[in-house]
Amino acid sequence: MKLYNVKLLTITCEILAQKNIIEILKKHEITGYTTYEVEGNGARGLRGHGLQTEKNVKVEVIIREGKLSDVIEEISRTLFADFALVLYVSDISVVRTEKF
């Protein structure tokens, strides 16, 4: 089975920033993503206990290398300052590269 190299962008952030992330993705014409709620600890303290709005969410995006940089740049610029947020990139391989 031939596999093609693409990137996986993973964003872990407070749940109220999810909408902002999805909007940024949409702006860059990315409509494929996977999300799920998580708990966590970081610079802004323990998150995921207490009020519903204080949970974290992970957003995972399989993305071509070409779009990656722009998306990361916009997330960094608009969200890093105000929101609890961590992001990272990994190398992955997929079967159907035309999907991404």
């Binding site: 109220l16 207490g50 009020l51 519903q52 709005t53 204080e54 300052a81 105000d82 929101f83």
Partner: protein, 357 residues
């Protein structure tokens, strides 16, 4: 003296005791918690019950006489929000974002506080005007929208000032900024009006109005008789969350602590008096006061985090949930009840009944 007795008697109700219990459970670091699905469901349930009840009452009593109290409530809420802002910005020296966020948190209303108030009155055998539920719904977004509008005005102004002092390179950026501001405001407006709290509350009021007592009978066991029990369960979770925040209270500073106690007292008492002046009943005046006294802590983070992301959420959540909420339901509610009893001229008799009971 009588007020102390009222407070003491209020303290010994299951609602307050389970709230305090939740605080203690959090402080001793117990792993007790109400599962998320339950604590997410309970506010929906409580608002549906409040709405149905209010709607049925409105059907019985008409809602012509609701208009004046509603506009007065909106007016007071806007006035109070501006007042909060001045106090926080001038005296408290908070930055513009935190000031507006806090001002609107205290200008907005708390649905959970409202539920506890209804239970308190039920316990006293006192009723209140059904349309207050509708005022609760209408009041919810008012303070937020104003605060967000003013914040965005202020930010735009700052940007415009910058624009004049810097080179033209950023012009497009600024235009984008201004456009974004407008989008944001209309977004917040839409989000507020379609927010689950308002939607379920307004929906239930309308349904309550349509079905009336007779249509309600088949569901009254769930939406009426279980009401206080459900609040009790919710209060355990509220207590736990408030308890977890107690540690943060030091961080909010003495000024905000004082603000979180004095402001609701002021707003609430004015509310009781104004409501009495408008002819609301003893219980109605208490609930009207409570609307103005209460701070929002469930809706606030959801709205403000998007609208004023620069504001520090732990300031407004901690003060509203950790200080004002307990103060309101434990201390201020009985105080307002005593005042309302007094100004309704039934003081001696009612209080006597209450205490001997």
């Amino acid at each position: 003296m009588e007020i102390l007795q009222l407070i003491q008697s209020n303290l010994l109700t299951p609602i307050i005791l389970f709230f305090l219990f939740g605080i203690i459970a959090a402080r001793i670091k117990s792993d007790l918690k109400i599962p998320e699905a339950i604590s997410e469901f309970l506010p929906i349930y409580l608002l549906a019950a409040i709405g149905l009840h209010g709607g049925i009452e409105m059907r019985n009593t008409g809602f012509e006489n609701m208009l004046i109290p509603m506009f007065v409530a909106i007016g007071l809420s806007l006035l109070f929000t501006l007042n909060h802002y001045q106090i926080l910005r001038r005296l408290g020296k908070f930055n513009i974002f935190d000031s507006y966020a806090l001002a609107s948190t205290y200008g907005a209303v708390g649905a959970v506080t409202f539920s506890v108030g209804l239970s308190f009155l039920k316990n006293q055998g006192v009723t209140s005007e059904g349309y207050l539920a509708a005022i609760l719904a209408i009041l919810e977004p008012v303070a937020f929208i104003m605060a967000i509008f003013l914040t965005n005005m202020a930010v735009s102004k700052q940007i415009r000032v910058k624009k004049q002092s810097f080179t033209n390179d950023d012009v497009s950026d600024i235009d984008v900024g201004l456009r974004e501001t407008k989008t944001k405001l209309s977004q917040v407006l839409h989000e507020s009006l379609t927010g689950k709290a308002i939607v379920i509350l307004l929906g239930s009021i309308v349904i309550g109005y349509m079905i009336g007592e007779s249509g309600f009978s088949s569901i009254s066991i769930v939406f009426d008789q279980m009401f206080t029990g459900a609040i009790v369960i919710f209060m355990i979770e509220m207590g736990i969350i408030a308890g977890q925040r107690l540690g943060d209270i030091k961080k909010v500073g003495v000024f905000l602590i004082a603000f979180a106690v004095i402001m609701p007292t002021f707003n609430g008492i004015i509310g009781v008096l104004v409501a009495t002046g408008m002819g609301l009943s003893l219980g109605g005046a208490v609930m009207f006061g409570l609307l103005l006294a209460s701070a929002s802590f469930i809706a606030a983070p959801a709205v403000l985090r998007h609208a004023i992301p620069q504001a520090n959420p732990s300031l407004y959540i901690t003060s509203a949930l950790g200080i004002t909420f307990p103060y309101n339901i434990i201390v201020l509610l009985p105080i307002m009840f005593a005042i309302s009893t007094l100004v309704h001229g039934e003081g001696s008799i009612d209080l006597f009944n209450y205490i001997t009971k």
